[in-house]
């Protein structure tokens, strides 16, 4: 009986993230349109797109195996699971002990492997090309991501995200150079993992440069809708991890229901800010050549390692 509030909170958080994710995407698109002097689309456009896609009939290649049909559901499930693990609103989510930060990276990796397999499944050249590029970026981004997470884990002495949030949010104010490095590294990984502009262009359908879009080229209707939705949830989940590590203020502490409205407001403000920042970055930066991505992500790795080392030195 005691766990009931926790479970209610868990359900609330999971549903909230899933429902809000397209809104965040819409907000990013609006900001980008404003910054680029275009007239902005409606903020609800991602929802309309999803609804439209769900109402269409799916077309699947003759050569596709069951894996191809299964992958959108796996992707969506992985991202939903990740959104359930990260403490978005409050720290006492009963799901959180199911996976620490290392397992969380694993959950994202599972999603990536399945989407790469599905991309190669139909045997189109673009699918294989996109899958290869995606795996290259993934294997470069993952160590950088882990280093970033380790830095926060070392500071708080735990790899459990709720514990990290509790420690970081309730310490006395101090400047952590290690966390500053980790934050920059995390931002770079976020851009790479979510196929945002310096690494991949989410809006492009130009064959030679696309990475993520090349992988999902064969999908249509409800499958495509699920994938697009999963992409939006992934972005929100990554932002939530970033908030948990670097801006943990406002997340409700364990068992404190009265802090929930504040947590909701803080989350809204942080998401809006992060969306604006992302749009700004995407407007200022240009997409880099695919071979420069290795350099970009090795810089992220370097920053992550430096952050960790400096934590040991400057204690």
């Amino acid at each position: 009986m005691n766990q009931l509030p926790g479970i209610a909170l868990q359900v609330l958080q999971s549903v909230l993230v899933v429902l809000v994710a397209p809104l965040v995407m819409g907000w990013v698109n609006i900001c980008r349109a404003w910054l680029q002097n275009r007239s902005a689309p409606s903020i609800w456009l991602p929802y309309y797109t999803l609804a439209k896609l769900f109402h269409k009939d799916a077309v699947i290649a003759n050569t596709a195996s069951p894996l191809f049909r299964l992958t959108p559901y796996i992707l969506f499930g992985c991202m939903w699971l990740a959104a359930g693990i990260v403490p978005v609103l409050a720290t006492d989510v009963p799901f959180a002990p199911a996976a620490d930060i290392i397992a969380l990276v694993g959950v994202f990796a599972v999603a990536r492997v399945f989407s790469a397999l599905a991309a190669m499944d139909t045997g189109t050249s673009f699918g294989g090309l996109g899958a290869r590029r995606e795996m290259m970026i993934g294997f470069l981004a993952e160590p950088a991501m882990l280093m970033t997470l380790f830095t926060a884990a070392f500071i708080s002495g735990s790899t459990q995200l709720p514990t990290i949030v509790e420690t970081l949010a309730h310490r006395e104010f101090a400047i952590y150079p290690s966390l500053a490095f980790a934050a920059v590294a995390f931002l770079m990984v976020l851009l790479a993992e979510n196929a945002r502009i310096p690494v991949d262009n989410p809006a492009t359908h130009l064959e030679l440069t696309m990475i993520h879009e090349a992988m999902i080229l064969e999908y249509s209707a409800r499958h495509l809708a699920l994938i697009e939705w999963a992409v939006a949830i992934k972005l929100v989940a990554y932002m939530a991890i970033g908030f948990a590590l670097f801006l943990p203020w406002g997340i409700a502490p364990a068992g404190d229901w009265s802090a929930l409205p504040l947590a909701l407001a803080a989350l809204g403000a942080k998401l809006a800010l992060a969306g604006t920042g992302l749009a700004l970055l995407e407007t200022l930066l240009a997409k880099m050549r695919i071979f420069l991505v290795a350099e970009f992500l090795s810089t992220a790795f370097l920053l992550g390692v430096l952050g960790m080392l400096i934590h040991f030195l400057v204690r």
Binding site: A174, S298, L302, V305, L309, L313, R315
Partner: protein
């Protein structure tokens, strides 16, 4: 976490110094390299001034001022003029492989940190934890001098090594005596002039600032 705010800021600046050392290691363009060198000098000067403020060592203010005058203003200006005259302003150096160099740099940083940890545990200065960073930036500048082929980046590496040494002195013992610091500063300045003259001679001899050409001298 009982560190006072000044100590925290010094730590942050130390981290910045290390980051700049890595950035210089990875930088291909000569112009940006000079800019980074100036920034490194600025970080060094600010951290020296903060240490001076926190510990009441007035002579450190002089060395901070000296750092600003020399390493942020004068030497970058001299280098700018030099690369203008040599017409290597838009020189882009083909480094071997930047990620590999970076990994070597991380190795050096780990080595320096583990070397400095026992020393800084015995020290009682507020800047004791930055000794490892100072050592690491000296080693990184060394690495930069080793992997660069052109003469100008090598000299910048040498100058940034002096930055690292200066920072090490500040963090270990609150700086050297003023006379020594003045002497070192003068040496660096004179060194820059002499290097500038060397550049012209190297280029006159080989039509290039690539150091590899100097290996031919052995065969004679």
């Amino acid at each position: 976490m009982a560190l006072p705010l000044s100590g925290q800021i010094v730590n942050l600046l130390a981290a910045l110094l290390l980051l700049l050392a890595f950035a210089m290691l990875a930088q291909r363009r000569v112009l940006t390299l000079i800019k980074l060198f100036a920034w490194q000098g600025a970080a060094l000067a600010v951290s020296t001034a903060i240490v001076a403020y926190a510990t009441g060592q007035t002579h450190l203010y002089f060395s901070a001022g000296l750092t600003v005058a020399l390493k942020v203003v004068l030497i970058p200006w001299l280098l700018h003029r030099l690369i203008d005259q040599l017409q290597v302003r838009w020189d882009i150096e083909t480094l071997l492989n930047i990620p590999t160099t970076m990994l070597a740099g991380i190795g050096l940083a780990i080595f320096a940190f583990s070397l400095a940890t026992p020393i800084s545990q015995m020290a009682s200065t507020i800047t004791r934890s930055t000794l490892g960073i100072a050592l690491a930036s000296v080693l990184l500048s060394f690495l930069m001098m080793i992997v660069r082929r052109k003469a100008v980046p090598q000299v910048i590496g040498f100058l940034s090594m002096e930055n690292g040494l200066f920072f090490a002195a500040t963090s270990a013992t609150y700086g050297m005596p003023l006379v020594v610091e003045l002497g070192v500063a003068l040496d660096v300045l004179v060194g820059t002039f002499i290097f500038g003259i060397f550049f012209f001679h190297i280029r006159e001899q080989f039509d290039s600032l690539d150091i590899r050409h100097m290996e031919k001298l052995k065969e004679d």
